[in-house]
Amino acid sequence: MTLEAKNLTFRYPHGGSAPVLDGVSLTLRSGERLGLSAPSGRGKTTLCKLLAGWEKPASGQALLEGVPVSQYRGFCPVQLLWQHPEEGVDPLRTLRSTLYEAGPVDRRVIEGLGIQDSWLERYPAELSGGELQRVSVARALGPELRFLLCDEASAMLDLITQVRLWRFLLAQAEERELGLLVVSHDICLLEQICARVLTWEELTA
């Protein structure tokens, strides 16, 4: 399968005339691990949001197997791990209902991520950012998943938890032939986990 960004442009409706993202193209294939690094404010997150169908582009297309991503109904095969986990969970629901809101989650995933049963009875305000993020990862790893977009997905984790999360995700990606787009400011990290690392200049060239 391929996930494709074709000449994506995005601007906020009342944000003046300057586009946040201007003419970005990218192709990601199943089983590929692509890293992306760029200075803050260039539009990395906006690109991820468009690729995951969270926003619609002003022009250009985000296509999964030739079909616009925003047209998928139900569990979207392209999932975005949000860089601020506290914004990705409902503050008024326990983590148990958040974890299972997109369908059943494989027991191996829960164990592999080190999610403890005691967390699931709590509300988001009672867990740390790193704990919330691991619940978000488990929720995103549904059986229909094909592409995972990781936007600074481990920036809130301590180094040891970060290593464990990536070892787990890489094993999952290999086993299930997932395509990974990894956005991070940590070049050393990208070099450890990605087969190919792009800079923003290469992407917009």
Binding site: S40, K44, H84, E86, G130, A155, L159, T161, R167, H185
Partner: protein, 268 residues
Amino acid sequence: MEPILNVAHLSVTFSRYGRGFSRTKLSAIEDLSLTVDPGQVAAVVGSSGSGKSLLAHAIFHILPPNSRVEGTLLYDGAPLTAHRAAEPRGRELVLIPQGVTYLDPMMKVGPQVCRGRRDPAVRARCREVLKRYGLGPDVEDLYPFQLSGGMARRVLIACAVMERPRLIVADEPTPGLDARTAQRVVGHFRELADRGAGVLLITHDLPLALSVADKIVVMHAGQTVDEISADQLQSGYGPSHPYTRALWRAMPQNGFAPPSGDLEEWLT
């Protein structure tokens, strides 16, 4: 020299209601002690969920109402009670919160950093502070949702350093920032410390912490397990505690290795 902040035997517990009227206690921090001297940058690193943010919130007395704090918190040698914290909080005593959700979503950046004050001196200061972190005057006119993650972080930091703080508690100030900007931010903390302020830098980024901090406090499961000077950690004396060693080896530039078997047991 009297430390600016002295935390001794701090513990934080949460009480939660179960079914009916039953209540359960959840211990988040147990017996934590650390000090921050004037002119010092103290970095706190440790596992996620080890209570680093709670420590910050305890200092500012902004923990949720179902929490209970025990132990001693001294600011300039006198107890930092909720009553005493209210006055300097936000001016002498500033917190850079971890979540970008701490920005008011309905308020543009400019007024937010100026806290609604409109006199020209304050606005000029706001512009200067934003510029320092590489944000132009056009950013003042944006709402938080129009900011990128890294820009929102820098706005939070700008809010904190608008006044002349004596104690800065920065809770994960750098995720989402590129290496240069992150270095600029912590470099500014160093500068504030060199002018006599105390900085408590809570972070996961050990290499970044090492580049500015005088000492590194390592936390795990609500306790301090190690306290080591930055020089000591870098100069081959080696981290003393096995957990600190494991953190060191887990750095992407130091091997990206998961903890070895015996430590694995200790961690759980």
